[in-house]
Amino acid sequence: MSKQTDPMTEADYDACVVAHGTDIALWPATERSRAREFLQTSDGQDASKLDNLFATLGPDEGGNDMMMQADTTDFLTRLQAIPDQYPQQATAANASAGTQSLGKKVGAFIDGLLDPARLWSPTGLAAQGFAFVLLMGVGMFVGAQQGPEMFNDYDVSAGIFEANNSEYSIDG
């Protein structure tokens, strides 16, 4: 945009119309006075006439166009009937169907694991071997975490040998 003291150009006028609307009274004071001068010029009058032309189009609410008048009732009736044709319950049904399909998938996965062809295949045997080693490793790790005294309660032989010790004592 040119300086505020320069005469307004078509581009300046367009920028102001776009930013502030066609009502010059609502424009900033400096732009207002420049616009009034601009509108006295030939270019200004053309610009103003263009705005008048746009104004004749106006915001179209859909009922002004002659072509649009046809079958409006029929069209709106069809739109009003949409809830009958596309029930929202279908969405809930889809969600339910989705849950069912998840259950089916889990079932199919378990069936697949127990499939003899897969179970005794090289991959299946390797997987079982890996699972066995893993299980043993976990068991050893858990056992290593617990002290030996924890097992005394279950060590029947410890009590037997205690009794034997007193029974066969040289002192006893």
């Binding site: 078509e10 581009a11 367009d14 920028a15 119309v17 776009v18 930013a19 009058q45 053309d46 610009a47 006439k49 263009l50 008048n52 032309l53 746009f54 004749t56 189009l57 106006g58 915001p59 179209d60 609410e61 859909g62 009922g63 166009d65 072509m67 649009m68 046809a70 409006t72 069209f75 709106l76 069809r78 739109l79 009003q80 949409i82 809830p83 596309y86 929202q88 279908a90 969405t91």
Partner: protein, 202 residues
């Protein structure tokens, strides 16, 4: 959740009629058919007009708008009132569907020997509004799609710059620049028609 609240004795229909679009959509989300019906009555024709401006085919325009309302009914969750006004969001839905339809639509081949009928207004009606609008529409056809959309949103649909920018997924400054360029181009084209169009308003 439907947020229609009764503050004074009114029928439920009256309450819905007085509610904002955004509240009505929240009711539609809960399966409220009356709220949906109010939205259809309030906006159906307007959006058919908007689609028709893109497509120039009433049957296809109705198809597009019906499709958009089906989306509204079955997927009302897609509208987020925190992000946009309902009309802005729905305009975008209708407009994008209309553009998709336009891209898919292929012009029908004319039969051999077919001559286009001269539907132009008679000379004695050359100054009536139909002619002005036809000239303006013809000039708009020479704009780029984006310029045409900007002018349409601003002057025909009456959107604020902010809402129109939102519909076009632009920031306000970019939209205003687009609109300024569109106006300049329109003016240049219409200057050529000055004697038989703009002078009418002198």
């Amino acid at each position: 959740m439907c947020q229609v609240t009764q503050t004074q004795p009114q029928s439920s229909q009256q309450l819905l009629d007085d509610s904002t679009d955004e509240v009505l959509v929240s009711c539609v989300r809960g399966g409220d058919r009356q709220a949906f019906s109010v939205l259809v009555t309030r906006h159906g024709m307007r959006f058919r007009s908007i689609a028709n401006r893109v497509l120039g085919d009433l049957a296809l325009s109705e198809e597009v708008v019906q499709d958009a309302f089906v989306t509204l009914w079955t997927k009302a969750d897609a509208f987020d009132p925190e992000r946009a006004k309902f009309t802005t969001w729905f305009h975008r839905v209708v407009f994008n569907r209309a553009l998709d339809m336009k891209r898919r639509k292929k012009p029908d081949a004319l039969p051999e020997g077919y001559e286009v009928a001269d539907t132009r207004p008679q000379a004695d009606h050359a100054v009536d509004q139909t002619t002005q609008m036809a000239t303006l529409s013809a000039a708009m056809e020479n704009l780029s799609d984006r310029q045409k959309t900007a002018l349409t949103l601003s002057y025909l649909d009456g959107y604020s710059n902010s809402d129109a920018a939102d519909i076009m997924a632009l920031n306000v400054k970019a939209f205003e620049s687009l609109l300024v360029r569109a106006r300049a181009k329109m003016r240049d084209m219409l200057k050529a028609e000055k004697t038989n169009l703009l002078s009418v308003f002198g």
